[in-house]
Symmetry: C4
């Protein structure tokens, strides 16, 4: 790799699509050939033609991406710092409007944050309008997104007093792996939008606090970079475990290759296959703001774009997801990986039963944070449906649950109702605004809330809890009891239409 110095005068000459050099991290690259195939579109590259694009690049790309995508011959040398002048330091003419902060940009001190809501408010103030829209939005009228959280407020505890609760333990195991809390970090895309460390910060916090992160296919860092960023234990040599969330690609070979690549990392210990993204929901707040077309997913290679429906990231970047994924594909997935398989996005007891039948290791009851199908049921209702319709499934596979969990007491309610662990999505993204420390602080808060709730309920370990601990009477009438009989609509309709036609 050449290390020759290049002056800004020289660089500035290569300022057009047909001759396009960019400076990134003081390295001068010729991107003329690459730009047209840039997953984020050529526009953003051409905007920086003949300029320094380090900042724009680092906002969306991991440092490793450029080396993986450009031949070494494209490196023209290093920026000669002695040639930098005032003109060079100016930003390019226009900046995308959605890049301004949604709030007044004043981030509260981390030690004033005492619950997950505080993190959300802080993020709303400091994230860009587009990031806020992407993270906070849900499908259509937000009914499911909001019910996810509000239903927990309608479950009363049935606390027991006068029990020795001097010591409590929140520890548990997930798929045989120890965890300090029955909390998973749910997969969520593009954590780098809110902090340059993105998923790396989350991984470090998960490691330091002893919980497991499930990496999203849409992560803003390559999975390999995330999992290798956590060192092995200096004493035992053991590795901190991760899970990986998989969107199955329409081109199945791509998914197969991705799994092969992931298998190189022994600390990826389970695959969570997303089942509830057959179609991307209309997340209206996100659609209304233009997508930054320079954004691309390092794992899928898909770039953001704007189309006639708007600029919703989840929709425009999820086009590769295979809507034909079906139960028959479980066998194919098993052939690709020997890791435990968890199906994420199950929304009915009937499908939990099918998951048992197909030998899955777990299901995550989830409605994708209310982002795909509005008025899909909050996962806690699906959990109660399992109690009513198929309690035997709790002995057959692990049940995870996410969506709307904001308090340690919510966690306790889910575990009491049979969940092995709960997933946290948006709260972690919002905490990431403070980097690793923010996520650690969030986990500390939840652990404290969980311990307080356990003590005040009179329990000292998660092994003790069960449905007797909660009063779900305010929700029970919402839980479907029976599998409705298939509706013999065709026969009736056929009969009727014959009659009509006869009359016409």
């Amino acid at each position: 790799m050449s290390a020759g110095l290049v002056s800004i005068e020289e660089i500035s000459k290569h300022d057009s699509p047909s001759d396009c050099w960019l400076v990134i991290d003081n390295q001068v690259w010729d991107m003329t050939e690459f730009a047209p195939s840039h997953p984020g579109g050529p526009g953003i590259i051409h905007r920086y033609a003949g300029r320094d694009a380090t900042q724009a690049y680092s906002e969306v790309h991991a440092p490793s991406v450029i080396k993986d995508n450009l031949a070494a011959t494209k490196l023209k040398g290093r920026l000669d710092p002695s040639t930098i002048n005032d003109e060079w330091l100016k930003p390019p003419p226009t900046a995308p409007q959605a890049n301004t902060p949604a709030g007044d940009n004043s981030q509260p001190d981390l030690d004033t944050i005492i619950n997950a809501h505080d993190f959300e408010l802080a993020a709303q103030k400091t994230a860009t309008a587009k990031t806020w829209a992407f993270y906070s939005s849900g499908a259509n009228d937000l009914i499911t997104r909001d019910a996810n959280a509000s239903l927990y407020s309608r479950i009363w505890f049935r606390p027991r007093v006068m029990r020795n609760v001097r010591t409590v333990s929140t520890s548990s195991t997930i798929l045989g792996l120890p965890t300090t809390l029955p909390i998973l970090i749910s997969p969520a895309a593009m954590a780098k939008l809110i902090h340059p460390d993105g998923e790396l910060a989350i991984a470090r916090a998960a490691h330091s606090k002893g919980i497991i992160q499930c990496i999203s296919t849409g992560a803003s860092y390559p999975a390999a970079e995330i999992v290798t960023s956590i060192p092995s234990s200096p004493t035992s040599g053991s590795q901190h475990p991760f899970f990986f969330q998989l969107y199955v690609d329409k081109q199945r070979s791509k998914s197969a290759a991705l799994l092969q690549k992931l298998h190189q990392h022994g600390n990826i210990r389970a695959i969570f296959v997303t089942a509830d993204a057959a179609a991307a929901g209309k997340r209206e707040a996100d659609e209304r703001l233009r997508a930054d077309e320079s954004l691309a997913s390092p794992i899928t290679g898909v770039a953001a774009r704007n189309d006639n429906k708007g600029g919703g990231y989840g929709r425009v970047m999820g086009g590769f997801i295979d809507p034909s994924l079906h139960w028959g594909d479980i066998a194919w997935l098993r052939a690709q990986t020997r890791l435990p398989l968890v199906l994420k996005g199950v929304m009915s007891a009937s499908d939990v039963k099918l998951a048992c039948h197909h030998g899955l290791d777990g299901v995550m009851l989830s409605n994708h944070g209310g982002r795909n199908l509005d008025t899909s049921p909050p996962a806690i209702l699906t959990l109660l449906e399992c109690h009513r319709r198929c309690p035997e499934v709790f002995a057959s596979l692990d049940i995870y649950i996410d969506g709307g969990i904001r308090r340690g007491s919510d966690v306790l309610k889910c575990v009491a109702l049979g969940a092995t662990a709960v997933g946290l999505g948006r709260p972690v993204l919002f905490a990431t605004a403070y980097g690793q420390q923010g996520v650690e602080h969030l986990i500390d808060i939840l652990q404290d809330e969980l311990e307080v709730a356990m003590r005040n309920c009179g329990v000292t370990s998660l092994e003790e809890v069960g449905p007797w601990l909660v009063n779900t009477a305010d929700l029970d009438h919402l839980v479907p009891a029976e599998e409705a009989h298939p509706y013999a609509r065709d026969w009736r309709r056929g009969k009727r239409e014959r009659g009509i036609k006869a009359k016409l």
Copy 2:
């Protein structure tokens, strides 16, 4: 028809009720004799005596109306454009107050509209206060109008995942006619109030998108003009189908004549007879604003007026509707038309059963958009009542439903519960503010929403769906289960009053 040019100087002389010429579309008409019998009242004509009334005319009348109502001898010639001066171009002294826009008049760009709510907000900003009041208002305290929409938010889906949903089809048939969506355009009066193209724009959009429009008796264009505005298929020669909504006139012969006239148009394929307008509701927002008395219905010939109750269009223009219409009249209706008959405005399972008994081809469960009887039940409750009390009716006739449907997911819920199709009323009126393109955009949005909902529910065709797809547990307790026994009030009361009288 004379084509001689007439100067503005000449025209201006005929500026009184006793000698009254008007210019419309550059044609100069003598309206002295016609004015007193003008359905919209003579006032508006006299206001333009000696002037150009083109704009005022086109706001409320279809171009064809004038020729159908005035003898050719009343045409005095064509306006001589060379004589036009500044004075001529000024509007007449006063304009009706309610004609000012309700909002700030800035219509958002159509491509920023991403759901039906957006269309409503846009209409609220740009329609005149009176138009907004007429379209948006409902009876009394708006309880039914608002519940129509809100109840859909209380129905959860029971989505199934892991089904191959690569291709989905929203197509269906209505009374044997193919439709790309299980959506009808519900009859709604006076679309011209919001756009000069009115029902013509709606017809063009329905045609281009492959759905069926049900023309209102109160349309602002003559039915013939609407149905003939859509050309036959250049390839097959087939005609795009329409339905027609009929208010039966107190003078039955008028209704009979209207049906006869409609039969001339082979593409009118069914008659929807309105049953829920025995009395016009008090739509208070509309009553509070003065009616524009120049407005008249081209089909019924009834003009708007103001009276001591206010200026509610529906009430003041619906006086011709026969409140004595009853089940015995079905036979009379069948005698007037061989088209399929659908009864619109059914609000109880008991009446659905009677409709079966009387051999109707369909019913539309509807409460007239909550415009006639406040606290009449939302149609979705009536649909559930049919499931509970008389599921056999689904095999006997088509069931349509309207009121409050705003999302593709609402459509899917109705179809899952056995509706053949849903009607859309206000959303189409609001979209008409953008003309044909607006209505097309609305249909596109609903189709997209419906497809997303179908995929995320795990279904690929409307033939597959059934009640198993929805969880109506939050509404089930509201559904009446039994026909209450008739209350033997007379007997008791008689007995009691005899006692009282004996004592007096």
Copy 3:
């Protein structure tokens, strides 16, 4: 009675408590002796000593009161109008603060009022703050006051269509008396606070519209003056009927005398005995404003006063009401009057049954407009309780209902559930702000609303309606089904306390 003229110079000399003349309606009275026994307290009289008190007097007293209370010898002559000067016309120094209007005092035109809510808003704007507080307030947290109205919104109609509803009749009979509407004017105190004509205006409107007014014991005109203000029919000689509401006095002889006096008026046709005023509720808005101590009830002679709890009119003027009234007193009441007896303020099915047992002619289900016992049940719940627990009572006596009725549709719901008629209290008071015309307009509105509701429900006469017309499913779970078994608390407690004492 002297008719000599008295100059203002002369009058002005008698300007102290010990020598106190007042001018009322141009008559000059010596009130020195009377003032100390004035039911409204001497203060207000002394304030006008040596002055013209006509306006202050007419705001609270009927014209006849003065002649009934002062000996003719106290009339000193007539005001000599020729002596009036500017000084004389000035008001006395200070006016009670609560006498200023609650709103901006601009009364909307009567023809812009289209429902009962409009009357309430208009009254809020123009009544004095104290009058508004007295009329609108309810006990404590207003839960019952507000639920009275809101529960009607939770009852759906079950409308039937396709019935000949060309002619509808709202007429009915109450205790054998014809009425054009199933609506009574509920007794409400002190209508003069909002309009000088007070109950006289209400009586004239009731007469002209053919409905019956129930005169309150707390009326601001003597009952005799009200009932004699309506002329007999010039053709038949028949008299328009009235009812009278009786608060039984702690001094029973007073009530007996009052009934004797009322019997002189043949058009008083029933006595409504109030049972739900054993203790006056704390109507907080009213307590917070000082009572006008010049106010007194012409029927009871009780004056308003302020005490350490506040200035709530109902409480401070209701001290004479007998809290010992009990079922055994029905016999006493029957001995005092041969008129039909209706018990007003029944709040449980158990007491309706007792009313039957005691041979009452009717009950009025009422919670006193939510003014006495907060969280007492809305009368519609009590009506439903009768259906559930003792439907036989509907054959035994008339059931009336009041509280929260604001729409003709509310009236229809009550009648469908077996009420003979409904009472209207506050709406009539608010309409009285416009005098007789206002009350007539209110009755017209309700009749129109009732007719529209009847037509759209498919019924033409009140004889036809019954419980089948309404869907009360949203309220049914609130209706108590059983008489709870008396709770054997004494026995348990005695047992327990013996144990505790043994231990101490």
Copy 4:
């Protein structure tokens, strides 16, 4: 004790931590040695070094505390008043921010206060922000705090009319002791924060009104000082009774000693042991404001402090409470005291049954004012749970209830459902802002409200009331009916995980 006069000149010299004199109540103390061990931290003492600290001291300490904690030798004499100058009278440089009033500091006149809500609003205006936060806050999202109050609004009375209610009595007995009302003053900490008389004012009011105060372990006056402040009856010599609320200390010997000390006061007649404080809740409003570290509990000796979670008084001062307290400790408690024992903070019928089993004299159904475990059930639900699941407990022990009671009608509902008495916490604290008079006024208000409710319900004594008086239908579905079967989670999980491990 020396009484020599000391000049301000001399005092001012001792103005450093190493030589630190303070003036308190005109006495000059050398606090150099004491400051480091001050429970409230040395900071506050050093701040007043060489100054007069009387005001700051009296805001948080009872007068007796200083004499109990400092040797007489530390008294350096009395302040020489003749030496006071302007400089001396100035406050020290900085004041803690949280010490400013939360509102505009204008306290309404006591005679304008007519209900408990008014007291709360007045306190919000005049208390310091920190005091307001401490008193008003609840755990986490305030769901339990707010539901405590709102559920009472959902219970309807079933009033009976026509009963002789001339005389009513609200008197009752609690643990054999007479009380004029079925109302206890619930233990609540640090009443001095809102008024210098603190618990003394409450005690005087309770005595004058004939009700019983339960003194908190966290009272701002020593229990002895409170109970001895009320004189014996001059006629009978009998003493007004008190109860004492006990937090059991981790160092059990401390609790034993405290009980021994309390036994010296014959008018302490029962011990309420708190069971629902195994962990202090996160009362977020309180945590967000810094604790005043000069504050300390005179009974426990624990001082306030700030830590990394915030400054919540309840949490930081409750560290001594033993989370290991369990049913087995009842025997130990019985060994320490022969007084009746009531368990406070029971939140399930199961624990009421256990309390019977362990021979407790009573339970107080309470969730600590919603301050410890959010979504713990409102006590009224637990009371209803007892009716459903174990009605026999009402015969075995007294049941008290607190949380959210704001009206006399709430009291009546609780008693009707079997509570012997209700506790009032926050309302009393808020009333204490007006000292003894305020608390007396609050009790008068509640007595009046209770009497009005009793009369309007048709009852004259608390012995008469029972569950028949209330309609709890709106809450009944929330009451858990059964003890859920323990959930055999371990077995299932073990089975499952074996399977997973076998696969790995």
